[in-house]
Symmetry: C2
Subunit: 699 residues, 2 copies
């Protein structure tokens, strides 16, 4: 799809230069040094040849066809050159030049022009304001990066070019290899989403890393990433998560940072693994790139020292992995080989005087143990330790195994040679057990995501017409807010359980309805103009007698008229009084990046004061709804405390799933609150007591 | 105090060997290679000289005096050699030999013998089962470590010798320098506590690092560490924090891991900075060792790239540091020097083409800004970046400044030369902004601890006699549990506010008391044999009339007799009914390592179901009590939500402080619960409603 960027037959560099200080020189030099097999056309009206390649005054003068053009000229010349590229039939353009969106309003206009030209001529554009593109397999280095990183199975894309240079510099030192490296810059056209799609089936990339400040189309991002992460792991670092951080983002590239809660939910739902730091990003990348996937959570530890074994145990347990008991046979075989003072239980302590042979036996046995899904090999450089030989045996065992093996060879001076050997065998080494544990935990999280059934959101076609009609009516009356009388029609359409309830226009009607429903009842003022009924004394609960109902009706109507002069009063709603159950809040608001963000929490202080809320971007699956419920800190209260029966979690899942469908079917719903949803004990369902809904005004 | 270990004039190595494969060779060789200036006496009955030093058959044969003896002989010979050392007047002994406590019960007995001998001859002992001792200033390397680490201002002590070897190997690579390195082994005699005391005034050590699995005497540890941390920062990593981790510890060195909650509280109270990983331990050490203390929380950032600037901003804010506005003058001066596209606001972006001069100006201006307490300098290796030159100017500026400067030069291949230059100037470099931010945050935490007033716990001498008398009475009756009737005497003695309450032996007496106190009242069964009164229907609240009181009395006494046959029934307690207020739980249990561990939380589900509890080890200061209150997640509920007035936090602080004093004054109190303490709105105090107390049985 984006093949012309990565596998071009010919590349033109517009702005190529003979001056080694210039970016236009660096790009041509990189293309050459990286060994690009196709044609290289430097474009420079003032030069005949650059770095031994014949130069042309413009792309139009190039005799053959051009697949990829790289632009490194001042911004004011870029539009014309793009038009020429279009004329020439160039398929892909990388604009390195800066001075666009990041430079304010005029820059943004310039950037829009580029997009316009690209659309018109049907070519794709990476940048502007970027470092360029590298594909180590082609090989192609169409960037001004200081050199080409080693090849490897990791694809990296970054919104920040500078961060890219740091990442490349790390790669240059030999510890990481890249399949593709893409600096996305301002993402005027090609974004993370396009690249994710392109890389999903790229056989050279086993894991995709993203540094992102903001994604342009949240819903599409989730949709695409959901599919890509089924095929290979995607690890992302999102910056601008704190208030100051997002201010810094918007002054940086002008991209909207979006709310942290929405990103957290979206990445979770898309199966994207979130790295909390740059270090974690690479730590995770290595294990995904070079080791088979962890098929369970049980980690065997082999160590030549007790202390680090304990640190590893702590870290693994902290990351919610398990330190299983080894099989009897394994323990026996270990005991047979190891000296008496060694520990044959997990963590297996081969003792400080262990040579490579002892490690070999122990790692082999632990790897074969069916109770073990992955192995961490810890080594401290003690007096007799055979560091390199041990790395060799561990590397060889890991290569044969279908379980992941990670190293934790601790130290630096004597250790490094061993670490290099491990790397040769594809065994990532982490200098401390905590980082090794975190990498294994990332694998476990990815595997658990793969175990989820694939989610295909579907609209509720049978529910839609009734709601559509209601919304049309509301809008035709010039309203956007919907109180609970009408809201219940919406809920009824989506098959929500709601209390019995009918509108009474007079006190007598109210009493008649109450008699039918059965006392006690609740009375609520019914008015399209009054959204916060309790504020105007518009709700009375626990009305037990006809007299109570009559009094409440009159008082409510009188007060409503006084507090909201001119309000349309339809009468009062008489409602079944729902007793018992726990109060739940379900809400939805529109996140500027991701759209419908659904919130869930326990009612009252838990949401308001303790901010104990879980979020998901709609649409989401019933399983995601379940995860969401388990995510809040006050979840134990739903499981039942102090002898209470557990709440009907299935009913909450059901309600959340219906909300997800409703807000997806009707993008015009701006905000929505069901507060409270009363949840009864297990098997007894739930009931939506009150709802508030705001539509977008038509425009 | 432990000077003979670090500054001896003469060292004997018992078990010295000519075989380079033996530890006894390594120790002599290390002493020699490290350049020890004093006398070295190899002890070996079968050798005349070892590594050019004259050897002796035993320490008794050495002509001069011996300050330090290092023992590397099989464990069965150690006791006799120790006796000889005692005879010879050796002041300090390092026992490297293993096979003691870590080897089971017999080993423990052998270890006890060593301690016995050391006591008898009044020498101190490090080990057994350790790596040895290094002092780079002396210089002395009395260990079998593979070499001597570079000198530096960091003291390191480790319970795990193997971890020590890893740490030394890191040091050998040149990134860290140590003043002292001590492998503590089984800590039969010298423990972390002794070493902390010794290192507090060591001019060569600016920061102390500890790897600890368990501390032997928790109360003394807190007491000593509290004083030491006033003088210099102590950073610790505690392993065995999770359930599996502590199982691993106890199989490792047999030291009791203690509860994580107690360690967390104790380290906090002692001012010890807790590192969550080995990596963090060294990250913090470097900034403490080489940079002036951060005197506020406002961090200026200078960067040549937007992306990493955002990551840094996120990480700093996450760590609760501030990214302040710069002074107008600073911004103006920056704007004057920097190109137009640069950002003169914090984070200051000097742009990707910044050379060293631009960094120099920006860092200098930001460092001088009175709104800034510390500076993070971020550098990505872009095309024109002058990495080494920039490191030079940053290093020179940092040396002149009285504010901490940390580097975040990102990358590896091109970056490393710059990092070496920064190190030369004492500027620690962190490869990613997150780690730099965490190091600055550790400094901030330490400074805030220094700002706390020094806490001197004092017993409540006037409160003690009444409680002593009561406890004596309880014990003389062969009881250990104290119900609330007697417990209130304890509370009264410590001046706790308690409800009016008196014991009634008959229904008539109960009515008379109720009339005096005023209705409504609470009735509670009064029996030393019934601790959980509600379980036997032994509490009735809200009794409004004489008839209610009479009925409740009879029913309660009848039931108590039926449910707990043979129970001594004193009658019923008639108690003022306390209304309103929020329920608090205060508790205390004895932690095996740290002693009286006081718990605080909101009553009911918050403690029971949500486990929202804060802990401190008594004795603690009112200020620590205040921190403890703020620590719980449900703290907003005490501040007042939904228009409620805030709770009387001062009254809770007061109650906690009194509990702290009580349980410190009476170590025989095993357990204690005040549940609930009713806390009223601000200014109205609190009241202890119910208390339960268990004494240790006399033994």
């Amino acid at each position: 799809m984006l093949d012309a960027f990565f596998k071009p037959q010919s590349v033109a560099v517009v702005g190529a230069s003979r001056d080694p200080e210039k970016l236009g020189y660096a790009v041509v030099s990189n293309l050459k040094e990286a060994g690009f097999h196709g044609s290289i056309y430097p474009i420079n009206p003032k030069a005949d040849e650059i770095l031994d390649f014949k130069a042309y005054p413009s792309v139009l003068d190039v005799p053959g066809s051009i697949d990829l053009a790289v632009i490194v000229i001042p911004y004011r010349f870029v539009p014309d050159v793009l038009r020429e590229c279009g004329q020439k039939g160039v398929q892909a353009v990388v604009v390195i030049t800066a001075g666009f969106r990041e430079a304010g309003r005029e820059g943004l206009e310039r950037e829009m022009e580029l997009v316009q030209i690209a659309k018109q001529h049907a070519f794709r554009l990476i940048g502007p304001n970027c470092l360029g593109v590298i594909d180590t397999a082609t090989p192609l280095n169409a960037s001004f990066a200081p050199g080409t990183p080693p090849a490897g199975p990791i694809a990296f894309m970054s919104q920040s070019g500078a961060l890219g240079t740091a990442v490349l510099d790390i790669a240059m030192a030999g510890r990481i290899g890249f399949s593709k490296f893409v600096s996305l810059g301002n993402k005027a056209d090609v974004s993370e989403i396009d690249l994710l799609e392109a890389l999903a089936d790229d056989p050279e990339s086993k894991v995709i890393l993203i540094y992102v400040e903001g994604v342009p189309d949240g819903q599409r991002f989730i949709e695409v990433a959901r599919q890509v992460t089924r095929k290979k792991p995607v690890v992302a670092i999102k910056s601008g998560v704190t208030a100051s951080g997002s201010r810094a983002v918007s002054s940086h590239t002008g991209s909207l940072a979006g709310s942290e809660a929405a990103y957290k939910a979206a990445f979770r739902q898309a199966g994207v693994i979130r790295a909390a730091s740059m270090e974690a990003l690479f730590d995770y990348a290595l294990v995904f790139a070079y080791q088979p996937l962890l098929q369970g959570d049980r980690i065997g530890i082999v160590t030549n020292a007790g202390g680090p074994g304990i640190l590893a145990t702590d870290a693994l347990e902290h990351a919610k992995l398990e330190i299983p008991r080894l099989k009897g046979e394994t323990v026996e075989a270990l005991e047979e080989y190891l000296p008496g003072a060694a520990s044959a239980a997990n963590p297996v302590d081969v003792l400080g005087d262990a040579l490579a042979d002892r490690y070999e036996h122990a790692v082999d046995l632990v790897l074969r143990d069916p109770n073990v899904d992955g192995v961490m090999v810890i080594l401290t450089p003690q007096a007799m330790t055979e560091i390199e030989k041990t790395a060799e045996v561990v590397g060889r065992l890991a290569q044969r195994a279908d379980k992941p093996v990670v190293g934790c060879f601790m130290g630096e001076a004597r250790i490094n040679a061993g670490v290099d050997i491990l790397r040769k065998y594809g065994v990532p080494n982490y200098p401390f057990p905590e980082r090794a544990a975190a990498a294994l935990a990332a694998m476990s999280a990815y595997r658990r995501d793969l175990e989820h059934p694939v989610f295909e959101p579907e609209p509720c076609t049978s529910c839609i017409p009734a709601v559509r009609e209601l919304f049309d009516k509301v809008r035709s009356e010039g309203r956007v807010s919907i109180g609970d009388l009408e809201a219940w029609e919406v809920l009824r359409a989506y098959d929500f359980p709601i209390p019995e309830s009918r509108l009474a226009k007079t006190p007598d009607e109210a009493v008649a309805i109450a008699e039918e429903i059965g006392y006690p009842v609740v009375l609520k003022i019914a008015s399209p103009d009054i959204l916060h009924k309790t504020d105007v004394g518009g709700v009375k609960v626990n009305l037990d007698t006809p007299a109570d109902v009559r009094d409440a009706f009159d008082l409510m109507v009188y007060r409503a008229g006084r507090y909201v002069p001119g309000a349309t009063i339809w009468g009062c709603q008489v409602q079944q009084m729902v007793q018992g159950g726990r109060e739940i809040l379900l809400g939805m608001s529109r996140d500027p990046q991701f759209g419908p963000l659904v919130a869930f929490g326990l009612g009252g202080i838990y949401v308001e004061a303790l901010r104990d809320v879980a979020f998901r971007v709609a649409p989401f699956s019933p399983q995601e709804a379940e995860e969401m419920i388990c995510e809040i800190r006050s979840f134990p209260l739903l499981e039942g405390v102090r002898g209470e029966p557990p709440a009907d979690l299935g009913a909450i899942v059901d309600a959340l799933t219906k909300i997800s469908r409703l807000v997806t079917d009707f993008p015009e719903i701006l905000e929505l609150d069901i507060n409270p949803l009363m949840v009864f004990e297990e098997g007894r369902g739930a009931m939506a007591i009150d709802m508030r809904l705001v539509l977008a005004s038509e425009s």
